[in-house]
Subunit: 305 residues, 2 copies
C-alpha cells in the first residue's frame, strides 16, 4: 500500500540512537526531526518534538537494552506525536526488550512480555525490530497487536565472518542457537556445529563438543543471538580452548553485556567479540541500517513491498 | 461503602518503601505481602507477587520521586495483580510524579502530566497521594480517571514546627506557596508571611521581604511543597539572612533534592531542612502514616467514610 503523496516520512530518535537514525534517514530519504529529551532536576523526563509534524508518518528509533529508564520517555514521545497530529507512528527498536519472560515459571510472576507488548501496541501503529528473542512465542503477533516487521541479522553476520575470519567453523553454544548458526553459516557454505548439553540437575549441566574432526585448524566462531551474562558463551569457549582449538571469536546479534560479562569472556579465552549495532557498545561493528531500511520503508508506506 | 467480608485487604510495596508500608499495615490491620522486584543481568525487571491474592483488595505503596526507572516495575506489578485475580488495586504514592508539565509552554512539548495520569488510571482502580502539585489543574480528576484521595500534610508540618521551633514565623518563598503556609500556620495561630516577586524579564526576578516588624527575633520557617533544585528557598534564605534574621529552618512536604540542592541550601545559610517521609531522604523526619491510613481505609473499603 502506497500512502498518498502528502504523507511525509519523518524519523526521530531517543538520545543514543543518532548514528543509526542518520544512516536510516539517508537510506530512506527521510527528514530527521529532533526529539528533545532531557531531565528536570527531580529526574522527570522533558520531551519535545520539534517542527510541524501534522499529517506525517513518524518513525521513532529507540533501542531497548536496559529498558526501564527509557520506557517512559519513549511512550511520552509516542503519545505526544499522536497528540500533535502525526498520522502513523512507528517504533524502530533494533533490540526489543521484554521478550524473555514468556511463561510464568513460578506462581505470581509477572508476564512482562505480554504487558510490555500491550504498552507498545497501544502507543504505536507499527514496530520494526531485529531478531527478537522468540522462544515460546512463534511470532510477535502472539502478544503484539500492531503491524510488525522482523529483520534477520544473519546476512550481516555472514558477511562479517566471511570477510574477517580465515577458515571459520561456526559453532552454536547450545541447541537454542541452532537457528542462528544455520542461517549464518549456510549461505556461504561455512562449516557449522552445535554444542549439546546434558542436564544432571537444576544447576548441573555438562556441555559436549560436537564432532569437529577435520576442522581442528579452523577458527571457532561462536554465534548467538544475545550476550547478556556471557555465561554460556564463556563456558563454550573454555571447552573449545581446553580441547586445543584456537581462541574463539564470538559473534552475536545483540550485545547487552551485563556486569562482568566482558571480563568473563576475556578470562575464558575469547579472542574477539563482535555484535551488530542493535545496541550501542564498543563491540558494535556490524551495521544494520541496510537491512532495517527496507522494513521501515514498508511500514511507513514508502514502499509497495 | 463497606466491601463484603470475604474481600481481604493486602498491602505491598516497591523496594525502598518498606518502613512506611509496615507502618500503614499496622494502622490498617492489613497483611503485608511480598512484591519481589529484581533486575536481570540485562537490566530488565523481574516482578513477582507472593501468596494467594485472588479476590483481595491490594494497595501498592510506591513513592514516585526520580520516577522513570520505577514506572515499568510499578505498572508490571499492577497488571500482574489484575492477572492473578486481585479484585481492587490501588496505588499509594506519597509523592506523585509528573504533575508539573501541565501546559504546553512551547509547541511540541509533551503533556506528561496527562499521559502519566492515563497510564496510572488504566492500571489502577484508585490512588492515594499527599499534596500533589496542583497548579493549573484544580483537582486530580481533571486528568485522572480513577478514584483518588488527596491527603494534606499540613497538620504534620504544623505539629513539627510547633514542637521543634521556638517563636517561629512561617514564611512562604513565593505567592504559589501561600496555600501551604496558611494551612500550616493558622491552626496553631503561628504568624505567617509570604515573599513577593517582581519580574523584570524572563530570568530577572527580584524577591521582596514582607513586613516582618515585631517578628525580628523569631525564627523564620520557610515552608514549601517541593524542594527540587532548592533555588527558590535558597534565594529566600539569603534575603532573610542579609536582612539580619536568624538562619531559617526549611520545612517542605516533598524533599526531592536535585543535584547540588543540599549544597545550595547550606551555602545560603539554612540552619536545618526537614521534610515528610513522602520521599526517602535523610531529612524525612515527619511521618505520614497516621494521615495516610484513613485515606487508604476509605479506598480499600475498610472504612465507611
Amino acid at each position: 500500500m502506497r500512502t498518498s503523496d502528502h504523507t511525509h516520512c519523518r524519523i526521530a530518535c531517543l538520545p543514543g540512537n543518532e548514528p543509526l537514525t542518520r544512516a536510516l534517514a539517508e537510506s530512506l530519504g527521510c527528514e530527521v526531526v529532533e526529539l528533545e529529551h532531557r531531565r528536570f532536576p527531580d529526574g522527570e523526563s522533558y520531551v519535545r518534538l520539534h517542527g510541524d509534524l501534522s499529517d506525517t508518518s513518524l518513525a521513532l528509533v529507540a533501542t531497548l537494552d536496559r529498558p526501564d529508564d527509557k520506557i517512559p520517555a519513549l511512550l511520552f514521545a509516542a503519545d505526544l506525536a499522536r497528540d500533535i497530529g502525526v498520522r502513523r507512528i512507528g517504533l524502530v527498536a533494533p533490540y526489543l526488550s521484554y521478550m524473555r519472560q514468556d511463561q510464568r515459571f513460578k506462581p505470581g510472576e509477572a508476564l512482562t512480555s505480554k504487558t510490555f507488548a500491550r504498552w507498545l501496541s497501544v502507543h504505536f501503529d507499527w514496530l520494526a525490530t531485529v531478531d527478537p528473542h522468540l522462544h515460546r512465542y512463534a511470532s510477535l503477533d502472539e502478544i503484539y497487536s500492531l503491524d510488525s516487521e522482523v529483520v534477520q541479522a544473519a546476512p550481516a553476520l555472514t558477511d562479517w565472518i566471511s570477510n574477517q575470519v580465515a577458515d571459520p567453523v561456526v559453532i552454536g553454544p547450545d541447541a537454542e542457537s541452532e537457528q542462528w548458526v544455520k542461517a549464518v553459516a549456510e549461505p556461504e557454505n561455512l562449516p557449522w556445529r552445535v554444542i549439546t548439553k546434558t542436564r544432571h540437575g537444576d544447576r548441573d549441566v555438562t556441555m559436549h563438543l560436537p564432532d569437529l574432526s577435520g576442522l581442528e585448524t579452523h577458527t571457532p566462531v561462536l554465534v548467538d543471538d544475545i550476550i547478556s551474562s556471557g555465561g554460556t558463551v564463556a563456558e563454550a569457549t573454555r571447552l573449545l580452548v581446553s580441547a586445543g582449538f584456537k581462541a574463539p571469536v564470538v559473534v552475536a546479534v545483540h550485545g547487552l553485556f551485563g556486569d562482568r560479562s566482558r571480563e568473563l569472556l576475556r578470562h575464558a579465552g575469547v579472542s574477539r567479540v563482535v555484535c551488530t549495532n542493535s545496541v550501542n557498545a564498543p563491540e558494535s561493528d556490524i551495521g544494520l541500517s541496510t537491512l532495517l531500511a527496507p522494513a521501515i520503508a514498508r511500514m511507513t508506506g514508502l514502499s509497495d513491498h
